[in-house]
Symmetry: C2
Subunit: 337 residues, 2 copies
Amino acid sequence: MRIGELARHAGLTVRTLHHYDAIGLLTPSTRSEGGYRLYGPEDIARLHAIQAMRQLGLSLEDIGRLLDDGGGTTLPVIVEQQLRAIDVQIEQAEKLRARLGMLQAKLATGSVPDMDDWLATIRMMTTCDKYFSADELKTIFGNWRRIYTDWAALITDVRRTMKAGVPADSLEVQPLAHRWMTLMGIWMDGNLDLIYRWGEMYRREPSALTGKGPDLGMVAYMDRAIQLRMAALGRHLSIDELLRLKQVPPEAWDTLAGSAAELMRQGVAPGASRARALGKQWLGLLERVADHDAVLFDKLLAAYCQEPLVAAASVREEAVRQYLQRTVQSVLDPIAA
Amino acid sequence: MRIGELARHAGLTVRTLHHYDAIGLLTPSTRSEGGYRLYGPEDIARLHAIQAMRQLGLSLEDIGRLLDDGGGTTLPVIVEQQLRAIDVQIEQAEKLRARLGMLQAKLATGSVPDMDDWLATIRMMTTCDKYFSADELKTIFGNWRRIYTDWAALITDVRRTMKAGVPADSLEVQPLAHRWMTLMGIWMDGNLDLIYRWGEMYRREPSALTGKGPDLGMVAYMDRAIQLRMAALGRHLSIDELLRLKQVPPEAWDTLAGSAAELMRQGVAPGASRARALGKQWLGLLERVADHDAVLFDKLLAAYCQEPLVAAASVREEAVRQYLQRTVQSVLDPIAA
DNA sequence: GATGAACCCTGACGCTACGTCAGGCTCAAG
DNA sequence: CTTGAGCCTGACGTAGCGTCAGGGTTCATC
């Protein structure tokens, strides 16, 4: 397909496609002998992605970067994002419509609307508020490839747990909640506001039924679990302190929990040197989470020791949890132990 | 209200308002002693108009021109235009939504959509087709002040005629049809396509119920009359020829019709010199309508003589029409007369 | 009355995403 | 073989701001 034809079909100008080629955003996969640009199906798919992201408000440069190092995996995510954006757009357009209708009725009676009315209307016209800003979309798209395999795995795990009839407030769900929060943290670059709004959006828009992502029930289920977790942490740490916590790789916790289970099965006493070495490792991890801040560390430790819910996130089994706790006790307070 | 406050409320940046001031688009009505810009209610109203027209796709320069020489009369028209634009936007967004939904479903099953699918979707994303292009909006807004008094008068006349129970295919309606077409011609700069689409829009969007403009029934009523008129003209002229016809001021026809009625009442014979002078004037008008093209003129004359519907537009009374026709006959063919 | 923070001013230059030429080449149809 | 529509590569221009720099205003608080 030559450039003019593509331009006509896509509703763009030839110059625009030239421009996209010049900046390396969309380079046609072949050229004719005479030097004509020839666009193939994959070029068209790429153009689709480009236009979609443009509609979301991203700059051409950002789009190029995202498409070039995001791999092909982003396509469904883009479409999903677009669907939401459109839903928002429609909703807002309808609100604006209602406003304009009222304004028109007022004008018809000859009265002049007051300033606040004008301002509110102007605001609705200009800020076709997107759910997410361009910067936020960049992080969402950009980080997607870092998490999408883990995310898919988590989704299936959650689905299985739900199907098994495990209630959301069960301790069993806490590891899932932890994984969920961790992944969300990576995905949204730790921006809590963004995470919250993401959830909001999911709850409000019915377009979430793609089959691949989480469904509404799943989100509600995890919400409950996360809420419990946050409440438990909140009894020991302030919001600011929570925000200062760092992530450590989940495998680290898993291997530690595995070792603890092993020691326990072997009958090693919590005060034994092998157990205490384990306890020290565990405390080391916790220190990393607390960002090496002594005060934060103490509070976090208290949370882990006093709130089974919190500890349950990294150590599944009740018995192991208690074993590990005694081990840690013996490290912190060797005499009492 | 100072610039920052206005910017916040309106969802704009301070820089944008600076820019609008710099190009003379929105100059605050006062300044503080220290030189701060102070925006009053009228400035805010103007800003509303600006944002509305921007949303319709007009350039800042065009907006400035339209606002500066259009007078305050354009405000309700702008809102009306905006309402329609929003309706279109919503409709198209919903279509796009449906498409994207299908595309997502396809992607979920792992199949790759074909080229036509892509292209159609891209097209929908890019060309959020407005009903009217920026240029067309410019003529619509720009010409509005040239016709709005006549238009309002016509609307009330049509309303009265409809209420009187006059059927649309009555000859009595033809003068209204003629006025309607003439005004539309002025409003839309003679762009027939634009006129047609304007009617289309009116028919499709229910937001036409402002009370000031014509309602749906009225448009249908006039449509019928105009259709009859076009059919009658179409029996004698081709589409191209119809397009080449010029307008003459309606008063010219009216005064001629008045003079003819006067002569008839005085019993002046159609062949008398005073009558023939009138006939010559009438033919002169017709020649201007035919743009001084002999072939066109002949066809037009035939239409006027053979189609009472056509003649009825400028001469209301049957008797006067026949009198005038005989007069014209005597001018064209003095011997036979 | 001094001072600090928040806000505002006027230039001036930069930037994005194209539009708009100019001058020449290619391609398919007659 | 021509002819008209389409394409090429530069090159410059444009709209609508963003983003400093350098300096004045306002106003509440000390």
